[in-house]
Symmetry: C2
Subunit: 542 residues, 2 copies
């Protein structure tokens, strides 16, 4: 079972140090500390374990070190920054694991960019040696890239020429959409196994500058100092992210606010998210004092951990029924505080994090049904769960007091990967509906919710059990692959962004290639990399 929790004192592969406004995240991958057997992490190559630490480090910088304004990502190994995802790990992994591995590493890089875009921290890739494949893809997720000019070090994306697969962590999309490198140059670069060294790489826009070995450290320090001087210093003290505690049995996993039980035989899970207690903080100062025990932070951290757990460790669970329990007023009270205190750094980080967790749900290859029943609290931020679900069922029972409610957080603070709110994406045909819903400013019982288009179905007491049972049975009987492709197409209506291009277009092509004999067959390039046997292609273009 893969554990997605990490903490700096237990990092095996990264050193996170901070000095005032500067954090340094240095990669020093331990060859033998792999997540699975059968490969060695040479040359700062990585597996999922390495990336779990990286994701944790970026998250901790945001919450524990708000004073940090610049993050330097570099390597402690001489002459090598990072060789990318470990090829032997990929070669020996199942298709499903490869796909989930790439999804997580993509989310980590998007989270890094989310920090840069929304919290203004500047990420500086200090490439003290060659950055190839995923190593360069990590660099290109940063705001600035500097490469040592030692006559040898290069940046490269050798996946296509060496492995017969794509750079799987957003590299191609970021080349042309983020750094806006000309597509013909991107074509040359992505087919050139040895990559490009400093001068040419700079000319083509692949890096921002190159410095001689003797001047490298000093030049990075100078650039960092420019960044931190230009930025206003934060006097805020961070909060600690403490380990998430949960109890697990064979069929359950129970955190404080989030719990799940698995019906393995029927291939679905019941996930319940509990709303906040009534005595939540009402000011930023109180939130800061409460730290990671504050409901929105703790509940969404638990949900995040559970989503990752289910993706990788519960592959046969195809459907997740989402429920909430609690008081609508308590959720709305939390949302009001989050909105009122949004200028506070911690509140901003919490809301940005909630948005990332909800995006993780959007990107999870499982079906989600929201079940809105008596005692539920699908309100404000928790309403997003119902809106993120593939469909929702709300009990239509006038006496049961089942309601939904909106808050200001539904109006754009928790955007999907495409930049739209879930309500915007839902009402592309009738954008006026948003004003109507927010104008009404109240909670909605089943019939009103159905009329407004907020829920899919509103069965009554008599029908409820049968309808849910049949819906679950039908969903879990369908082809899991067709559902994954269908959900990936239906969930992202409207505009696309760099993120959705990475998770939609690029990832779908990579998943296709990850199935092709030319990559993973006995004569495929990925299978045969580093072996005495040669890859041999079926050259038919498809």
């Amino acid at each position: 079972m893969i554990n997605f929790q990490a903490a700096p004192e237990q990092y095996k592969h990264w050193k996170l140090t901070t000095a005032g406004p500067v954090a340094t995240l240095a990669m020093d991958v331990q060859e033998d500390q792999t997540l699975a057997a059968g490969y060695k992490l040479k040359l700062n190559s990585y597996d999922l374990g390495v990336d779990i630490e990286l994701a944790d480090a970026i998250q901790r910088i945001r919450f524990e070190h708000p004073e940090v304004r610049a993050v330097v990502i570099t390597s402690l190994k001489p002459r090598i920054f990072c060789a990318g995802a470990n090829i032997y790990m990929l070669g020996t992994s199942s298709h499903a694991f490869k796909v989930n591995f790439c999804k997580f590493t993509n989310e980590t890089r998007c989270a890094l960019e989310d920090d840069s875009n929304h919290s203004g921290r500047r990420y500086i890739a200090a490439l003290n040696g060659t950055a190839s494949g995923g190593g360069y893809e990590l660099a290109i997720a940063c705001d600035e890239i500097y490469l040592v000019d030692d006559g040898n070090s290069a940046v490269s994306l050798p996946e296509v020429p060496l492995l017969g697969v794509l750079p799987g962590t957003g590299g191609l999309t970021r080349l042309v959409d983020k750094r806006k490198i000309r597509r013909d140059r991107a074509d040359v670069f992505a087919t050139l196994a040895e990559g490009l060294k400093g001068k040419r790489a700079k000319e083509w826009g692949l890096i921002d500058d190159t410095f001689a070995t003797s001047r490298f450290e000093e030049s990075i320090a100078k650039r960092v100092s420019e960044v931190t001087k230009a930025d206003s210093q934060s006097q805020a003290a961070g909060i600690s992210l403490t380990p998430l505690l949960f109890e697990a049995t064979a069929d359950t996993r129970t955190y404080k606010y989030v719990s799940v039980n698995f019906n393995r035989e029927k291939r679905y899970a019941n996930l319940t998210m509990h709303g906040p207690e009534s005595n939540q903080p009402t000011t930023a100062a109180e939130i800061q004092k409460l730290g990671d025990a504050y409901w929105p932070l703790q509940a969404y951290r638990e949900l995040d951990d559970l989503l990752l757990h289910m993706r990788v460790n519960e592959p046969e669970i195809g459907l997740v029924c989402l429920r909430t329990e609690g008081k609508i007023d308590d959720v709305l009270a939390v949302d009001r505080v989050l909105v009122a205190e949004r200028a506070n750094w911690l509140v901003r980080e919490i809301v940005l994090y909630m948005a990332r967790v909800l995006r993780r749900l959007d990107l999870t290859a499982k079906s989600f049904f929201a079940l809105i029943e008596p005692g539920s609290c699908f309100a404000g931020n928790l309403l997003e769960l119902a809106l993120a679900a593939d469909r929702s069922y709300m009990l239509n029972s006038p006496d049961a007091g089942v309601e939904l409610a909106t808050s200001e957080l539904n109006a754009g603070a928790l955007p999907m990967s495409n930049g739209l709110s879930r309500l915007q994406s839902r009402f592309l045909a009738t954008p006026g509906r948003l004003e109507e819903i927010f104008g009404l400013d109240r909670s909605f019982a089943a019939e009103a919710a159905e009329e407004l288009g907020l829920v899919t179905f509103v069965p009554d007491d008599l029908d409820w059990e049968d309808e849910i049972r049949v819906a679950i049975e039908e969903r879990t009987s369908l082809s899991p692959d067709a559902l994954t492709g269908m959900e990936a197409s239906l969930r992202f209506a409207g505009q696309e962004s760099m993120d959705t291009k990475i998770f939609g277009r690029l990832t779908a092509w990579q998943n296709w290639i990850f199935q092709r004999p030319n990559a993973v067959g006995p004569r495929g390039a990925l299978t045969n990399y580093g072996k005495p046997t040669q890859s041999q292609f079926d050259y038919k273009r498809t």
Copy 2:
């Protein structure tokens, strides 16, 4: 060998009739007239042969019947509009054929929408019976959808529940992005094998209206009459699209303006497009008189036919070297006439068609290198070939007079699928470069072209042969699948559109699913459809 040319008098499956401003395109698929053995086209299901006729019909309406303002698409079979792509055909086809089949049918539906969007013809789907799968996808490509209310007929997308694959012809994307149906309803609809009948289908936005059997024909006629009355009548007479003539040998195919030779051993082709003669028409009246012998129309029709031929009949050709031959001034003269006469219906249709052919090239899963040599004429519309190529090589020989030139047609009249011109897409990083290039208003020799970023490499006489030879050898040695995924990612920088979502996101997922054992394995749903054996899934979510 599959032939992509068709003509109404030879149609087997469609009846195209026109009456003043109304065309009727009626589907009457002949079960036994299949393109391959092993299946029967029951219930108006289709194979590639049926769709080649449909594409031809839409094209002919545009050129041969400019007076048509409304096109009614219906069926001559009782109680069935169209059952979609033939499942047994899909089940017995190779992966590569399935992918290319879907690409062509997608292009056909995009061409229909292109006619509606740019030439204002209104497409009315008159569903006189059930439209399922590709049948409903054809309807949803139309502007308006009317379904007979006979107590039985429905619209449906049964691919996910019945076949374990996606609706492969843009259905999912058009549901949420064109008709902007709520994603939860789209989710229900796309998992409901039997689909929805009139009332519910209308309520959910899947159709525009439903009429009782007795009133169906009259209601369609009424709607058609509203459309044609609202539109200004065109008095223009059409031109004939005559059969394209070519000579073929084992290794060549030679049309009047386009020729290709295949180096099969080395897996590449040399494609040469000849520029116009000097005595081209200078007015719309002269163009009308010349008809389909007018260079832009004939040359691009030839290119279109050749691209389709190479996709399906030459799968092992992985790289196409694009060359042009002719005089830059002659190409620019044609472009000036096309711009000056753009208000003319025929000129508009010709330019829109050139744009579609160039988009077909963008979407072709082969690498393209443009080779810009002495005697070439990469100017104006032909410059788009170099810009569409994955990279370009221009001979840098001051004495050889090799030049490129821009025309007004490069400024947006020939857009890519994402709506950007190829120059816009190329210069996302430096949008000012466009003004600079158009401001200079002249032709560019190699060094100037390189400086402006119009070409990738400018080898001199000494290096040219070796550099091209090595580039070809390297390209054709790479994994064809990785190249397809890479090119699909790099060619479409910048914004996405419904079309690019269909060809990028949706198609890539479908291609992935088309490889999955749950669809095409011995126990897969596609393989076992209609057989006494049951499909059996590996339920792991990926």
